[in-house]
């Protein structure tokens, strides 16, 4: 009898959870489709009153892309490096355990704490070249600063996924490579990393999903200025040293309870952001499914 009750409760909770997830998706699907017009994607936020004057979210959209790519360009190689070291070398053991718990701690760290730390770090005069300086005060807000801290948000996903992939390789495959006179480095580079590639891709996509969904770091370190404010007129570098915004910052600003209070714009942007994350998740699923279909060792 209690079994039945427990099972029923579990069922009910499962259904409830599905309902909540569906409600969120459906709400933003409906609202998003209602408010999303193509011109929102190609115009920039502008000052004004009323929805017709405040423009679209081209810059925040590009900002999301830039920040995502930049952060993962840092997090992916570093994360893979850490994962390889933890899984294949891991000596000295104490240091490895320390690194392991550091990564775990990072995964549980609220991003606003990372943002705060970044705000301290990037206002140091020596790294002023990464952001803008005004009257000898380093502002510490830039794409570089935001991406650097956001990479820490994505890093744990890369590490965890890559490690999982490496640990799934049977030890006799490593030994087979040693047994034909290969070093550990050669084995890692030529056998293990290629075999773990699907896991590395999965980790990067999961990390990217978290990076583009983060708000605190964007607000504190990217400026949340709605449009790009390049530091100078140097083509790419000026932009990256300058401030900007992402979709999350844009939503934050335009939410019904936010400063901008342009709910329809916020819904449309949220819809776009949700689509991006959904596409990433579908991509992750596809990679996992493909790698499961691939023939592996027994």
């Amino acid at each position: 009898m209690t079994d039945r009750l427990g099972l029923g409760l579990a069922w009910l909770l499962g259904l409830l959870f599905c309902a909540i997830a569906a409600a969120i998706v459906i709400y933003f699907l409906v609202e998003g489709i209602r408010y999303l017009r193509p011109d929102l994607l190609v115009t920039n936020p502008a000052p004004g009153v009323g929805e017709s004057q405040t423009g679209g979210f081209l810059d925040p959209l590009l900002g999301t892309v830039i920040v995502g790519l930049l952060a993962m360009a840092i997090a992916t190689p570093v994360g893979i490096g850490i994962a390889v070291w933890l899984s294949e070398f891991g000596r000295p053991t104490g240091f490895a355990r320390l690194a392991e718990s550091s990564v775990e701690m990072l995964a549980g760290e609220p991003s606003v704490v990372l943002a705060l730390f970044g705000a301290v770090l990037f206002t140091v005069r020596e790294v002023g070249f990464l952001s803008q300086t005004s009257h000898r005060i380093v502002l510490g807000q830039s794409f570089f600063a935001a991406a650097a801290m956001l990479s820490l948000v994505g890093l744990p996903m890369v590490v965890a996924s890559t490690r999982e992939g490496l640990q799934a390789i049977p030890s006799h495959v490593r030994e087979a490579s040693y047994a034909i006179g290969k070093t550990k480095i050669a084995t890692t580079r030529r056998v293990l990393l290629p075999a773990a590639r699907p896991s590395m891709i999965t980790g990067t996509m999961l990390g990217l999903g978290r990076v583009i969904g983060d708000t605190a770091i964007v607000l504190l370190l990217l400026g949340g200025t709605l449009t790009f404010q390049p530091a100078n007129s140097v083509p790419v570098l000026g932009l990256l040293r300058g401030t900007g915004d992402t979709l999350t910052g844009y939503i934050y600003y335009n939410a019904p309870t936010g400063d901008g209070n342009q709910p329809s714009k916020a819904y449309a942007a949220a819809f776009v952001l949700m689509l991006m994350v959904l596409v990433l998740n579908v991509g992750v699923d596809a990679v996992i499914r493909r790698s499961q279909r691939a023939v592996k060792w027994s």
Partner: protein
């Protein structure tokens, strides 16, 4: 690892009976084979005795016997647990040496000591000496040693790359990418041919190696092991994961190879040892109980434990 294995002697004996009986047209009652097969040689006219020597006669006595390795008083232990106790034996090119014995008797440890793979296991310690062409292997660079003493594992484990690259990987320098595909094509094809695989894969050299059948994968692993032109080839139960047909191909291959390379094979399958081995070493609880020619070990074992083991009393 060890635990996952089904009782190998029994299962493989079933397989052997299947492949080998057909030509001779003897059909012993299947239930009887398991016990009799191993002990048959001592007892003369058991049904399996008729085919096991027949499978072997054709390959008797290679023309050469060159001393390659010597194991001298080798002891290996993992932590405080001894795995191999003071074993000495020679390994000769031109002969197939089979290491037999029950699970956990140290034969795989002995095999892995020959190319210093044991030292990758944490807590392993050694004493004694192993020489390769007169040089103590402890003084050699492990990577150089392992190119001269290569190894094939129980589970087929081709690398996740093309058939060609699997073999080419051996020929390339450490971690290097492509020292020109055309330059090593000949060597790759040669290694595949020596492993008897070339005809089957010649058109598909660029296909992923993990798409091959289990038997082909294992022969690819042998090709890989041969590509470096080693002096000694170590085989750790290479057929125990394979079907009878693939097993037969690999056994024929081993017999062919023994002229070019000293072959050491660990096997749980006594019939296999009898069919392909020139010399047999029986190990039990880490000790080398008896070493001698296959004829002697299977025909007239000196030690009681050997006799009991090959007649299926234990193991």
């Amino acid at each position: 690892m060890e635990l996952r294995k089904p009782p190998p002697v029994r299962r493989l004996t079933g397989n052997e009976a299947y492949t080998d009986e057909v030509p001779v047209q003897v059909a012993p009652p299947p239930a009887g084979i398991e016990r009799h097969a191993a002990g048959s040689n001592g007892n003369g006219h058991r049904p399996s005795a008729a085919f096991a020597p027949a499978a072997r006669r054709s390959v008797r006595d290679s023309a050469i016997a060159i001393d390659r390795m010597h194991v001298e008083e080798l002891s290996v232990s993992y932590g405080t647990k001894p795995a191999v106790k003071s074993v000495s034996l020679p390994i000769r090119q031109g002969e197939v040496l089979a290491l037999i014995g029950p699970s956990g008797c140290g034969k795989t440890t002995l095999l892995r000591s020959l190319n210093r793979l044991t030292e990758l296991t944490r807590g392993a310690s050694f004493s004694g000496r192993i020489t390769l062409d007169g040089a103590d292997i402890a003084t050699l660079e492990p990577t150089a040693l392992r190119r001269r003493v290569t190894m094939v594992f129980q589970q087929p484990n081709p690398f996740p790359m093309s058939v060609f690259d699997n073999v080419a990987y051996v020929l390339r320098e450490q971690a290097s990418r492509r020292p020109r595909k055309a330059a090593i094509r000949g060597a790759v094809r040669d290694a595949l041919a020596r492993a008897g695989l070339l005809d089957e894969v010649a058109d598909n050299l660029d296909h992923p190696a993990l798409r091959l059948s289990g038997g082909q994968q294992q022969r690819l692993c042998i090709a890989r092991a041969l590509a470096a032109h080693p002096e000694v080839l170590l085989l750790d139960e290479p057929c125990s994961a394979l079907d009878p047909q693939s097993t037969r191909l690999i056994e024929e291959l081993i017999i062919k190879l023994r002229e070019d390379v000293a072959v050491v094979i660990v096997t749980h399958n006594l019939q296999q040892a009898y069919r392909i081995a020139d010399y047999v070493a029986f190990m039990y609880l880490g000790e080398l109980v008896e070493y001698g020619s296959a004829q002697k070990i299977f025909g007239a074992p000196q030690e009681r434990r050997t006799r009991e083991y090959i007649s299926g009393a234990f193991g």
